[in-house]
Amino acid sequence: MATEATPMSAGVTGARAGELVRRAWTKTWPPLGAAALLIGGWQLVVWSGWRPDYLLPGPMAVFARLGQDLRDPDLYSALLTTGTRAAVGFSLALVLGLVLGLAVSRSATVRAAVGSLITGLQSMPSIAWFPLAILLFGLTEAAITFVVVLGAAPAIANGLITGIDHIPPLLLRYGRVAGARNATLYFRIVLPAALPSFIGGLKQGWAFAWRSLMAGELLVIIAQRPSLGARLQFAREFSDSEGLLAVMIVILLIGILVDRLFGIAEGRIRHRWGLEQQS
C-alpha cells in the first residue's frame, strides 16, 4: 500500500480520503453503469433500423435536443406549471391523508367504515378517475388537482395508520403513566413514533401524485398554460419524437430527484430513531 510509507497522521487522513472516494464510487457506479447499458441498448435498436430515425431518434440526437430545450424559457414555464400543480395537489393530499389517517387510527368505527376503502383506493389506477373529474370540473385545474389528491392521499393516510398501529404498546403505556392525554399524547409520543412509517407513506404518495399528474396533464390540456404533459402531447401531435423523448427524460429525472429527497429524509429519520445500524 502506498500510504504505508507516509507519516502516521497523513497516512490516516489519506486512507480516510481514499475510503470516502471508494465509498462514493461504490454508490455511483451501479446506476451510472445501468444508465450506460440502457442508452447503449437504445442506440443499438436505433442502429438496427427497426423504426425510421424520425420516429425513434438515437440518444445523441435526443440529448442534443434536451440541451437545446434546457435553454428554452418555455420549458421553465412548463416546469413551473407542473411543479405548482404537483405542490398544490401533494399538499392537499397531505392534509387529507393526515386527517383520514388520524380518524381511522383513533376510531374503530371509522376504521371499519373506510379502512379497507382507503387500501382499495390506493390500488385503483388514478387515471380511472379522470373521466369523472372532467365531467365534474371540466378541463380545469380543479380536475387535475382532484385526481392528484385522490391518487396520493390514500398512500399518505395508510403510511400514518400503519405507523400508529405499530407503535410499541409499552411506549403508549408509558405515555398514560406519565399523564399524557389527547393532544399531548399525540404530539409527544404518537406522531413522533409513527414518523418513519409516515415518511414512507409520503414517499409513496409522491409517486402516486406524480403519476396522476402526468396522466392528468395529457388528458386535461388548458389553453395558454404550458406544462410538461402538454409538451408531450404537442410533441406527439407534431411527430416531434426528439422533443417527446427529451420531455420524458425531464419527467424521469424529476421523479428520481424527488424520490431521492424523500429517501434521504427517510434514511435520516430511520437512523435517528435507531431503526437501522450505521453502515
Partner: protein
C-alpha cells in the same frame, strides 16, 4: 432551588400511603375467566420499600397496573393517597427519537408545570444522579442496556412521584449492573423518602432492597406470606443472614409453584 418539592405531601412519614383493600381482578368472562388477583389486601406505609415476589401468574404486574391507575379492579379498592405515581417497566421503554436528556425531560414537558429552563436543570441533575451526566446527548440505541434502564429510572424520578412502582426493572440486566443499580436505587430512595413498590421474582433481590417482602400465591394472586427484613442498610448480598432469608423466601415460592403445578 427545589422547585419540584414545594407541594406539601398529604401523608406524613409513617402514615399509610398505598392501600389495597379486598381487591380482585378478573380477566375474561364465563369459562375463560381468569382471576389474576383474589381478595388481596395490603397496606404500605409512606416511605416504605416493599418488594412483591411471586412466580409467574401471581398477578404482581396486575397489582402494579391497578396502583398506577392503568386498570381498574373488578372488586375492592386501591388507593395511593392521591399522590403522584411513577411506573418503571422491565423494558426501559424509552422514546427512540429522543436523547437521554429528552427522555428525562418528557414527563416534565407532559406535565407542563416547570419552565423549560428549570426542567433542563432538573433533568441534568437526575442524569448526573444516575451516573449518566456525560451521556445526555446519546440516543437510546447508542446506550447499553444498563444505561437505558438508568435513563428510565431518571425519567421515573422526573415525575417527582410520591410512589415509585417498579415492575422487575432490573430483570433483564447482568448481575454486576444490577448490583450497582441496587445501590443507586437504595441511595435515591433514602434521599427522596419515596414509597417504593418493587416487583421481582428474585428472592435475593427482594431481600437486598425491601423493608418488607410480600410473597404472592399464583392464580389467583393472594398474600401467602409477609417477611419483615430488618437487616441494616446498605446490605451485602453475600451476608449469611441475607442468604438465609432469601433461601427461606425462595422455598416459599417453590412451594407455591409446586402447589399450582406450573
Amino acid at each position: 432551588m427545589r422547585l419540584l418539592h414545594v407541594e406539601s405531601r398529604d401523608v406524613p412519614d409513617g402514615g399509610t400511603r398505598v392501600s389495597v383493600e379486598e381487591v380482585s381482578k378478573i380477566y375474561g368472562r364465563g369459562p375463560r375467566e381468569v382471576a389474576a388477583l383474589k381478595d388481596i389486601s395490603l397496606n404500605i406505609e409512606s416511605g416504605e420499600f416493599v418488594c412483591l415476589v411471586g412466580a409467574s401468574g401471581s398477578g404482581k404486574s396486575t397489582l402494579l397496573n391497578l396502583l398506577a391507575g392503568l386498570e381498574q379492579p373488578t372488586a375492592g379498592r386501591v388507593s395511593t393517597g392521591g399522590g403522584r405515581v411513577a411506573l418503571m417497566f422491565q423494558e426501559p421503554a424509552l422514546m427512540p427519537w429522543l436523547t437521554a436528556l429528552g427522555n428525562v425531560l418528557l414527563p416534565m414537558r407532559i406535565r407542563g408545570k416547570l419552565s423549560e429552563a428549570a426542567a433542563h436543570d432538573e433533568a441534568r441533575r437526575l442524569l448526573t444522579m444516575v451516573g449518566l451526566r456525560d451521556f445526555a446527548r446519546r440516543r437510546p440505541h447508542e446506550l447499553s442496556g444498563g444505561m437505558r434502564q438508568r435513563v428510565a429510572l431518571a425519567r421515573a424520578l422526573a415525575q417527582d412521584a410520591e410512589v415509585l412502582l417498579m415492575d422487575e426493572p432490573f430483570g433483564a440486566l447482568d448481575a454486576i449492573t444490577r448490583d450497582l443499580l441496587h445501590d443507586e436505587l437504595e441511595q435515591i430512595w433514602r434521599d427522596r423518602r419515596m414509597t417504593v413498590v418493587f416487583v421481582t421474582h428474585n428472592a435475593r433481590e427482594a431481600v437486598r432492597l425491601g423493608d418488607r417482602v410480600v410473597v404472592l400465591t399464583s392464580r389467583p394472586g393472594r398474600v401467602a406470606a409477609e417477611i419483615r427484613v430488618s437487616l441494616p442498610r446498605p446490605r451485602r448480598t453475600d451476608s449469611g443472614e441475607m442468604t438465609a432469608l432469601a433461601y427461606q423466601i425462595g422455598e416459599r415460592l417453590r412451594t407455591e409453584v409446586r402447589l399450582r403445578g406450573d
